[in-house]
C-alpha cells in the first residue's frame, strides 16, 4: 500500500545494510525519472535494467515522472513533450524518448507520460484542464502503441494518469477515457497541495475513483501525511509515496504519532508523545527552517534539536522495534544533529521509515477488522 522512496535509486541516507534493518519495508520501491532520466545512456548500455543497476534486483519497482519532494517548474509541457529536472538540468522527453528510457530501465510499473500542470496554482482555467486531459490521453495511446512493439517492455505495466485540474467534468472524462485503455493501474495526479486545497479536492477524488474499475490499483502522488493518507484511503486510493518520513528526517525530527487504535487511545497518545504540556509545546513551535524541504513541522513528530533532548536517554519512541530505538537514545541523536554528523540522517531515516511503515500496517489491520474509523479518529486528534 505504500512505495518505498528512493533518490537516484537508493533509499535516502541508507545502504542496503541499513535498509534491511528496517521492518516491513514495502515490496515495491519508487524510482523517479527526474533522478534517472539523465542516466539513460548508461542504463541502455548496462542492458540489465535499473533494478539490478541500483542493487535492488529483488524489489518491485515503480517509476514515477517526478520527485514528490522537489517541485518542478511549470510551463514546460508541450503537445509533444514533458520535461523532468535532474541534477544536470532539464531533460525533455517526447513519447519516443520517454519510452526509450523506460526500455533501458525496465521497471515493473511506470507512470505514463502525462501533463500535470492543470493543477498548478497559475493554471486554473477549464481550457487548461481540458488540454491536460487531451494531452495525457494522446501520450498514453502513443506509449501503449510503442509498448506493443517493444520486447523489453512486455513485462512492464503502464499506469494511466488521471488529470483534469479542479474541473469535475474534465476529471470524470479523464477517468472514463483512461479506464478504457489497457493500463495496469491509475495515478491520480494533481490532488496535492496544502491541507486546505486537499480538502476541497477530496470531493473530486471520490467522484474520480468511483469511475475506476475495482480490480486495478489506484495510486496517488504527493500525498503522504498520515491524516491525508487516511482521507484518500476512504475515497478509494490504494498506493502512496513515502516521502513524508523523508521530509521529517531532513528537518531533524522523528515521527512519534500513535497508530495504535486501542480502546483507550488517549493513554497510548500520552505514552508516545509525552504529557499534555509537551503536546502544546509542539503546537507552538511548528515553523522550523529546514534545509531543502522547507515544510512546516507537524504534530506527528518531535524535533530532536531542541535542548530538552540533550540529556534524554529514552529511545525516540518507547516500544519501537527499529534499529535506532533499539540501540540509541534521544540524547545521542540530539548530539549528532547539533554536531552536524551524517549519522543523524541515517538513524532518523531508519526510525521514520519504520514508524511510517508500521502505520500502514495498522491501516491494513484496521481495514481488515473494520476499525478504520477508530484509527482515523486517533490520527485526527494528533493532527492540528
Amino acid at each position: 500500500m505504500k512505495l518505498s522512496l528512493t533518490k537516484t535509486g537508493s533509499a535516502p541516507h541508507l545502504t542496503p545494510h541499513t535498509l534491511h534493518n528496517i521492518h516491513k519495508v514495502p515490496a515495491m520501491a519508487q524510482l523517479t525519472l527526474s533522478s534517472l532520466a539523465e542516466h539513460h545512456e548508461v542504463l541502455a548500455e548496462y542492458k540489465e535494467g535499473v533494478g539490478k543497476f541500483i542493487g535492488m534486483p529483488e524489489s518491485l519497482l515503480y517509476c514515477s515522472l517526478h520527485d514528490p519532494v522537489s517541485p518542478c517548474p511549470a510551463g514546460y509541457v508541450t503537445n509533444k513533450s514533458v520535461s523532468v529536472w535532474g541534477v544536470g538540468g532539464r531533460v525533455e522527453m517526447t513519447v519516443s524518448k520517454f519510452m526509450a528510457i523506460q526500455q533501458a530501465l525496465q521497471p515493473d510499473w511506470f507512470q505514463c507520460l502525462s501533463d500535470g500542470e492543470a493543477s498548478c496554482a497559475e493554471a486554473t482555467s477549464i481550457k487548461r484542464a481540458r488540454k491536460s486531459v487531451d494531452r495525457s490521453l494522446l501520450f498514453l495511446d502513443n506509449c501503449l502503441r510503442l509498448q506493443e512493439e517493444s520486447e523489453a517492455l512486455q513485462r512492464s505495466t503502464i499506469i494511466g494518469v488521471i488529470e483534469g485540474g479542479d474541473v469535475m467534468e474534465e476529471r470524470l472524462r479523464s477517468a472514463r477515457e483512461t479506464a478504457k485503455r489497457p493500463v495496469g493501474g491509475f495515478l491520480l495526479d494533481g490532488f496535492q497541495g496544502d491541507p486546505m486545497t486537499l480538502e476541497t479536492r477530496l470531493h473530486l477524488l471520490s467522484s474520480v475513483t468511483a469511475e475506476l474499475p475495482e480490480d486495478k490499483p489506484r495510486l496517488i502522488c504527493s500525498v503522504s501525511r498520515p491524516d491525508e493518507v487516511l482521507e484518500c484511503i476512504e475515497r478509494g486510493v490504494d498506493l502512496f509515496e513515502s516521502f513524508f518520513p523523508y521530509q521529517v528526517t531532513e528537518r531533524g525530527c522523528a515521527l512519534t504519532f500513535s497508530f495504535d487504535y486501542q480502546p483507550n487511545p488517549e493513554e497510548t497518545l500520552l505514552q508516545q508523545n509525552g504529557t499534555q504540556e509537551e503536546i502544546k509545546y509542539v503546537h507552538q513551535t511548528k515553523k522550523i527552517k529546514t534545509t531543502g524541504c522547507n515544510q512546516e513541522m507537524t504534530s506527528f513528530e518531535i524535533n530532536l534539536k531542541e535542548k530538552k533532548y540533550q540529556g534524554d536517554f529514552e529511545p525516540l519512541v518507547r516500544g519501537c522495534s527499529c534499529y535506532c530505538c533499539q540501540n540509541h537514545t534521544r540524547a545521542y541523536i540530539h548530539h549528532l544533529l547539533v554536531t552536524n554528523e551524517l549519522l543523524a540522517g541515517v538513524l532518523l531515516m531508519m526510525h521514520n521509515f519504520e514508524h511510517y511503515f508500521g502505520f500502514f500496517h495498522s491501516i491494513r489491520e484496521a481495514l481488515k477488522n473494520d476499525r478504520l474509523a477508530q484509527l482515523k479518529e486517533l490520527i485526527r486528534r494528533q493532527a492540528s
Binding site: 537516484t8 541508507l14 542496503p16 542516466h39 543497476f53 542493487g55 534499529y323 545521542y332 548530539h335 549528532l336
Partner: protein, 428 residues
C-alpha cells in the same frame, strides 16, 4: 616535591601486548592487545570516529567490518556534548553504543591545529571554545579527567604538540614539557585498572631530541626499578624526584605533519629501535597504505588516520593500485565493483557506475558506501599484513604490495625503498 612512591605507583603497568610472531628480517611484529572491551589483533588500523560516530555508518556496520577498536576525540567530545553528559550515558561506549574498544587522544593536537588562539604554558593549553567563546584551560589533569569520564580503553597523555616543521628551542621545550605532563597525567589518572594510559614520545625531527626523550623516559623507569643514580642521563633532574612511572604503551607523536617522508621514517625507526619490545607502539596520524606497510616493517603496531574516511566523503575509493576518483566521467559506464577482490558490502552489491551516479546526486548514501569500503580496505590490508608476518613471508608480502601499488619496484618512492632497506627488506 613529590613524596616517596605510593604503593600503587610502584606497580608495573599492565602488560597488554602479547607478541605472536616477529619477522626475522625486519622489525615487523604480529600480536594481540588485551583490552577491557576485547582482544585486538595487531598490526591494527583504527578508524577515527571523532564525535562519537564513524561518520555515516552505524555501530553495527562498523562491527560487521571487523573493527574492534576506533578513536574518539577528547577535544570535540569535551566541548560537545561534554564529559558530564557522557558519564551519565555510561561513558562513551554507552553513549554511542559501541561494544568494542575505544582510544581517545588527549585533545592536544586539535588544540594546536584547530584553535587559532591557543596559548601553551606550563599549566596547560588555554583556548577559546569555538562554539560559545568561553575560555578554557586544557591541562594534563583536565585531559585525563575528561578521558576518565569518557571511559575509553586506551587514553593518551596530554603532550605539548608542536608542528613537525618547527625547529629550534621550542621543540626541545615541548619535548621536556611533555615528559613532565606525562607524570602529571599518570598522577591524575583515576582509573588505571580500566583505562590504559599511553605515553607520547616527542622530539620533532631532531634525532638527538627524540633520542633524549626516549632515554629520559627509560631512565626514569630504570631509575626507580634499580634505584641506581648512575643510570640517570644528565639534564633530567626531574627524574630523580619521580616515583616509578610505567605505562602500558607508547605513541610516537609529532610526526605525519608537514615533514618530508625522508625525515619521517628516520624518526619512526629511531623510536622503534629504542622502545621496549614487549609494549605496543602506536604511530599517530598514519595513514596511507604505503606508509602503513613501511611503518609495520619499522616496528609499529597501531595506527590511526582520518584519511580513509575523509577521502571517502570526497568520492575517492581506496584500491590496491591507489585510488579511484569515482566522480570522474571515466567511471560512468564502468560496471565493475570498486575492487573485485574486496569482501565489503559495497563491492558485493554495487558497481562503480552506480556509485558514480549516486555521487552526483544529493543522496548521502553515496558517501556511506565509500566509507564502508575504505574502512574495509584498511582493515583488510592490516589483516593481510598480519597473516604474512605470522606465516613468515612478510618481506614477500611487502614486495608484492609495492609491485601492485607502483607497478615496478624502481617506481616505489625513494623514502620507502630506503626505509625498507634499513630493516633488511629489498624490493628488487
Amino acid at each position: 616535591m613529590a613524596a616517596a612512591a605510593s604503593p600503587s605507583s610502584m606497580e608495573s603497568a599492565p602488560r597488554i601486548m602479547r607478541l605472536v610472531a616477529e619477522c626475522s628480517r625486519s622489525r615487523a611484529r604480529a600480536g594481540e592487545l588485551r583490552l577491557p572491551h576485547g582482544p585486538v589483533a595487531t598490526p591494527v588500523f583504527m578508524p577515527v570516529g571523532t564525535q562519537a560516530t564513524m561518520k555515516g555508518i552505524t555501530a553495527e556496520q562498523l562491527d560487521a567490518l571487523g573493527c574492534r577498536i576506533c578513536l574518539g576525540n577528547t577535544y570535540h567530545l569535551g566541548l560537545r556534548p561534554g564529559p558530564e553528559l557522557i558519564q551519565k550515558a555510561h561513558g562513551l561506549h554507552g553513549f554511542m553504543n559501541w561494544p568494542h574498544n575505544l582510544l581517545t587522544d588527549s585533545g592536544g593536537f586539535q588544540m594546536v591545529s584547530l584553535v587559532s588562539l591557543s596559548e601553551v604554558t606550563e599549566e596547560g593549553v588555554r583556548f577559546r571554545s569555538p562554539y560559545d567563546g568561553e575560555e578554557t584551560l586544557l591541562s594534563p589533569e583536565r585531559s585525563v579527567e575528561i578521558q576518565n569520564a569518557l571511559g575509553s580503553d586506551i587514553i593518551m597523555q596530554l603532550d605539548d604538540v608542536v608542528s613537525s616543521t618547527v625547529t629550534g628551542p621550542r621543540v626541545e621545550e615541548a619535548m621536556f614539557r611533555s615528559i613532565r605532563w606525562l607524570d602529571r597525567c599518570i598522577a591524575a589518572h583515576r582509573r588505571p585498572d580500566q583505562q590504559n594510559l599511553f605515553a607520547i614520545i616527542q622530539g620533532g625531527l631532531d634525532a638527538h631530541l627524540r633520542a633524549t626523550c626516549l632515554e629520559a623516559w627509560l631512565a626514569k623507569w630504570c631509575h626507580v626499578r634499580t634505584r641506581d643514580p648512575r643510570q640517570q642521563t644528565p639534564g633530567h633532574r626531574e627524574a630523580e624526584q619521580m616515583t616509578k612511572r610505567d605505562v602500558p604503551g607508547f605513541a610516537i607523536g609529532g610526526l605525519s605533519g608537514g615533514e618530508s617522508k625522508n625525515q619521517f621514517w628516520r624518526m619512526v625507526a629511531l623510536s622503534t629501535a629504542r622502545l621496549p619490545r614487549d609494549k605496543p607502539r602506536y604511530l599517530m596520524g598514519v595513514g596511507y597504505a604505503t606508509d602503513l606497510v613501511v611503518c609495520v616493517a619499522l616496528g609499529c603496531d597501531m595506527f590511526d588516520c582520518v584519511f580513509p574516511t575523509r577521502t571517502a566523503r570526497f568520492g575517492s575509493a581506496l584500491v590496491p593500485t591507489g585510488n579511484l576518483q569515482l566522480k570522474k566521467k571515466q567511471y560512468e559506464k564502468d560496471f565493475r565493483p570498486i575492487d573485485p577482490e574486496c569482501a565489503c558490502p559495497t563491492c558485493q552489491t554495487h558497481s562503480r557506475a552506480f556509485l558514480h551516479a549516486l555521487l552526483h546526486s544529493d543522496n548521502t548514501a553515496a558517501l556511506h558506501h565509500l566509507t564502508v569500503h575504505n574502512i574495509a580496505y584498511q582493515l583488510q590490508l592490516m589483516s593481510a599484513v598480519r597473516a604474512s608476518i605470522v606465516e613468515k613471508r612478510f618481506p614477500d608480502f611487502v614486495r608484492h604490495f609495492m609491485g601492485t601499488m607502483y607497478g615496478d619496484p624502481t617506481l616505489c618512492p625513494t623514502w620507502a625503498t630506503e626505509a625498507l632497506a634499513s630493516v633488511g627488506i629489498t624490493l628488487a
